[in-house]
């Protein structure tokens, strides 16, 4: 119950601050524009695509690329997940570092809540915001589902992958916020770690190495299979491990505040 009290407080604070609204409005406007462009490309190639029975359809060319440009080779860049690399750090930066700079952290620590409860409560609130963001983005391609053949299974796997990626980035953001003395430092650190997780295997891939630990560490390796509609337990586990590791670090750092003062 205490975790939900923190979640409720954090959600309320997110909704009354302009930052969350501005980010949501701007990114959804960009995604709507992206949807129109992807739909235009799909409609322009519809005749050619119809001639190939096993060729890509609406889900591969419009719905999934809305979430990420990972599979489209950068054609119309910046899907939801590419934007999340910047948006998530901005949302999470103040979650703990902001309480410190405002001097309100003792209020939470003084309510008898453990560091883990505070971290989980704040993380849940951010996750709910990101979930709403993801649902609104997916609603755009879904709005045409009644008149078009949609691969629901593939889209569901891609949506799950996107949610897990957002959850991992949010956990990293909360951890950075727990370690940073100022929200801006937290945002910068979270952005850098997000980028590192995304591109850590770029060099290996350029050298033609498609297996090994370096590829396993990369977010893209696990996200790509989900975006292709394939759900592997190993990939799900990777996201869960990142979330647990980052949140455990955040809780540990916050608990140390009580020790260090």
């Amino acid at each position: 119950m205490s975790i939900f009290a923190v979640t409720r407080l954090e959600l309320r604070r997110l909704f009354v601050r302009p930052l969350a609204w501005v980010l949501a409005a701007l990114t959804l406007a960009e995604l709507a524009w992206r949807f129109v462009l992807l739909l235009g490309v799909f409609l322009a190639n519809q005749v050619k695509l119809g001639a190939t029975p096993s060729g890509p359809g609406y889900t591969d060319l419009v719905a999934v690329p809305m979430l990420s440009s990972l599979l489209t080779g950068g054609l119309i860049p910046f899907g939801l997940l590419e934007m999340a690399l910047v948006i998530v750090p901005l949302l999470t930066m103040a979650s703990i570092a902001g309480e410190r700079t405002q001097g309100t952290m003792p209020l939470l620590l003084g309510t008898g809540l453990s560091a883990t409860q505070i971290v989980l409560g704040k993380y849940l609130a951010l996750l709910l915001w990101l979930l709403a963001w993801l649902v609104l983005a997916i609603a755009m391609p879904l709005s045409l589902a009644h008149g078009i053949q949609l691969d629901a299974g593939k889209l569901a796997a891609a949506a799950l992958g996107s949610l897990l990626a957002l959850a991992a980035l949010a956990a990293v953001g909360v951890a950075c916020s727990a370690f940073a003395s100022h929200p801006a430092i937290a945002a910068a650190a979270s952005l850098m770690i997000g980028l590192a997780l995304t591109c850590i295997n770029s060099g290996a891939q350029m050298a033609g190495v498609n297996s090994g630990a370096i590829n396993w560490l990369a977010l893209g390796t696990h996200l790509e299979t989900l975006l292709r509609g394939l759900v592997y337990t190993g990939d799900l586990l990777w996201f869960v491990l990142v979330v647990i590791f980052a949140l455990a670090l955040a809780a540990r750092r916050l608990a140390a505040d009580k020790e260090r003062g």
Binding site: R8, G103, G261
Partner: protein
Amino acid sequence: MTAPTAVLQLQDISRHRAGHPAVERLSLALESGQVLGLLGINGAGKSTTLSMIAGALNPDSGRITLNGEDFLERPGLARQVIGWLPERAPLWPELTVSEHLMAHGRLRGLASAALRQACDDTLERLDLTSLRRRLAGVLSQGQRQRLGLACALLHKPKLLVLDEPANALDPVQVSALRTLIREVADEGTAVILSTHLLAEVTAVCDRVAILHEGVLHYDAAIAGTDHQALERIFFDIALRGGAGTQAA
């Protein structure tokens, strides 16, 4: 006749900051309905002591007992037992006065019906009803202090911890605060307040404890001690480190 219950008991608590002792082997006990004034100059260790009592800071050593239970082993006790007003009343500037109270109530585990009633009562008691929809970020320092106090009192704690509660209050508000503290104590709540003003202590407290450089130098009942004698003791401790003065 039953012996009065110690709501709070500190046993040899110590806390160091940057290698220096902020609080050194402090022992105190506080019974229900008692008002203890923690007196000391700036940097004496008052806020550190209160942060440890409120559960926002862990002592390096020693034991804190709340209602007979080990607080360090059960930090969750703070939820129901303690109400805390930290120094300068930190608030979330984007939330309104009533949102603050609702959030504090939920964090303290109050159920919604009881919470609404408690909010209304506390707003009225602290004369904040007309400000209930105002954002905390635009409140004056005195209003912030009253809101902080309202948050601390909302769940009817057994122990009220006030860090410099009269800061930024005008004389009328200070008088109202003193009345409120006495009322709360009469209802059975133990109150510990820190201040560097002797007049504050003599006006409202039953007992005074004087801290200097983290060490408790004096702890005695106010009744029977005249203001000037207490002032001499305070200055003696503050200026000469209290040589010859002992905890009573």
